[in-house]
């Protein structure tokens, strides 16, 4: 269960108001997409959720607790570029987070622990379609593959929230389409909360379960910096009850089919696609 709340959040740089009166409350397992014109403060909103920047007023709560004042492992992130480490192989990139968590001084696992982590990382890489590129360096990958790697690298830490800052902005249309499918599936499989910033409207409605538009509500032509942007509209793009009933129906259909096929196996799959299908537990 992950909930996010923005309580009357403001962001000002000296005299310039960027964001004002942002109030938002987000339930568990939502795919929130933030849209709006460029330079309006979408990314600032995301950065505040990441603690890369601090709100000047108000507060942000994650599961009812104020978020830490610096980036931490409970919020994963994929940026448009530079989200992966150029000096590590694909596999090395994915293994970094768990090794940092488990080996404070060396940041490196050895022996059985390393092999277990390698297996887990490989499973995740195979899931995002990078299985055969594990030994390459990021510079040898295409833009789309780098973003897949960045996703895997963030997902292995099992963050409560995954933040995506225009993750597909630099990709060509074909790659972008396959990335949409991947992100949608990962969101379903891991039952996590995703917050994404984009300026692509079709993308927003394709992926998002909830789409918010950020823009200036008021504007003073003499002093454009006087008023900041805020949430001007809030759509429930995919209704929660519809989503849940659809998931339920899919599951019922699957169980029905397995029963028809041969009522031999005593499969104990959980009623909804579970978090741990791709991420083997340690």
């Amino acid at each position: 269960m992950t909930t996010i709340r923005f309580e009357n959040v403001w962001k000002e740089y000296d005299e310039r108001v960027v964001l004002e009166q942002v109030n938002l409350s987000l339930a568990d397992h939502e795919f929130l997409v933030i849209i709006g014109p460029s330079g309006v403060g979408k990314t600032t909103l995301l950065r505040m959720l990441l603690s890369q920047e601090q709100p000047t007023r108000g507060r942000i709560l994650l599961d009812g607790e104020p978020i830490a004042s610096e980036p931490t492992a409970d919020r994963g992130v994929v940026f448009q570029r530079y989200s992966v480490f150029p000096h590590k192989t694909v596999l090395g990139n994915v293994m970094m987070g768990p090794q940092w968590a488990g080996a404070p001084l060396l940041g490196r696992f050895f022996g059985a622990r390393r092999r277990a982590l390698e297996e887990r990382a490989m499973a995740l890489l195979t899931r995002v379609g990078l299985g055969e590129h594990a030994e390459k360096y990021p510079a040898q990958l295409s833009g789309g593959m780098q973003q897949r790697l960045a996703l895997a690298q963030a997902l292995i830490m099992k963050p409560k929230v995954l933040l995506l800052d225009e993750p597909f902005g630099a990709l060509d249309p074909g790659t972008r389409k396959s990335m949409h499918e991947l992100v949608g599936e990962l969101w379903e499989e891991n039952r996590m909360t995703i917050v994404m910033v984009t300026h692509d409207l079709p993308e927003a409605f394709l992926l998002g379960t909830r789409v918010i538009a950020v823009d200036k509500r008021r504007n003073d032509p003499q002093a454009p910096e006087r008023f900041g942007a805020t949430i001007v509209s809030d759509f429930e793009a995919k209704c929660r009850s519809v989503r849940e009933s659809r998931a339920f129906e899919t599951e019922r259909e699957r169980v029905r089919l397995t029963l028809l096929a041969g009522n031999s196996t005593t499969e104990d799959r959980p009623p909804v696609p579970a978090i741990e299908t791709a991420l083997v537990k340690d």
């Binding site: 990441l50 890369q52 610096e70 980036p71 931490t72 492992a73 919020r75 994963g76 992130v77 940026f79 570029r81 530079y82 989200s83 992966v84 480490f85 150029p86 000096h87 590590k88 970094m96 987070g97 940092w100 968590a101 404070p104 001084l105 940041g107 360096y137 510079a139 040898q140 960045a150 690298q153 963030a154 830490m157 963050p159």
Partner: protein, 272 residues
């Protein structure tokens, strides 16, 4: 007729063209030397290659009476020792200070202007101070090298640290990295290739300071020897020594380049 920049030599031609200036310089020297020796067989300014060879063989294989050492190897050993110590200390200082000061904003705000000012002090101008403080022995020579090149390396490393995209540092934090883990796992490996390049670029300056220090006061060393035999116009020693120093510098540069390629393959991919 295309523009001249659109004509490129083939690989074989390229090799010949690259050798051409070397051959030309050599030919001019031999020609001029022969012309002078024909007039005055005892000419000291442009000795023949035969006398270079005999002098070098003498210096490399016979024990000098004054120092009871093989002079060429003894000088080389002393100079390289000074050079490696100076370069090593500078590289270490550059790495440690450059990373820490470049990465921690408070330290950066405190020390960056100081390093910038410090690196502008001409090292040879403070050489007398070093002699007064550290005596005329080895310490002052090594401090001179460090004084001369460490500020450059520190600033270079600092710039490289600053050039690491902020996204990577944020990402590392969302993966749970501590400051130490970010330094050791993200910053240090990405700075190392630049440090090697930085040391390569400093080689020339380091040799300059070694030779300058040896010229003023020393018991031995390649620079010392050159300045010592200058009194006798012994070009048959000076010229081979200069070529020997050049060769050593080239070998060091080459070794560092190979090291960078072997140890940091990912850095090469980016370049292509």
């Amino acid at each position: 007729m295309r523009r001249i920049i659109n004509y490129a030599p083939r690989p074989g031609v390229r090799l010949i063209l690259a050798l051409l200036p070397f051959v030309a310089v050599l030919a001019i020297y031999i020609f001029a030397s022969n012309a002078r020796l024909a007039v005055e067989p005892a000419d000291k300014l442009m000795p023949s290659f035969a006398s270079f060879w005999t002098t070098m063989v003498r210096m490399a294989t016979t024990i000098d009476r004054a120092t009871s050492q093989y002079l060429l190897w003894w000088d080389t050993w002393l100079s390289l020792q000074r050079l490696f110590l100076g370069l090593g200390i500078s590289a270490l200082l550059g790495l440690v200070l450059g990373i820490i000061v470049g990465f921690v904003p408070y330290l950066r705000a405190t020390f960056e202007p100081f390093f910038a000012a410090f690196s502008l002090i001409p090292p040879l101008a403070v050489l007398p101070i070093l002699f007064i403080l550290f005596g005329l022995g080895e310490a002052s020579k090594i401090v001179l090298i460090v004084f001369g090149i460490a500020p450059f390396i520190i600033r270079d490393v600092m710039l490289r640290v600053a050039a690491i995209p902020a996204e990577q540092i944020i990402k590392a934090q969302t993966l749970g990295a501590s400051t130490w883990q970010m330094i050791s796992g993200v910053v240090l490996p990405q700075v190392m290739p630049r440090l090697i390049d930085s040391v390569r670029l400093s080689l020339g300056a380091a040799w300059l300071f070694v030779i300058a220090a040896e010229a003023i006061t020393s018991e031995g060393g390649l620079g010392y020897r050159i300045f010592l035999v200058r009194r006798y116009l012994a070009m048959d020693v000076i010229l081979p020594y200069v070529i020997w120093i050049t060769l050593l510098a080239f070998l060091m540069d080459y070794a560092l380049r190979r090291l960078s390629v072997a140890a940091y393959p990912w850095d090469q991919i980016k370049a292509t």
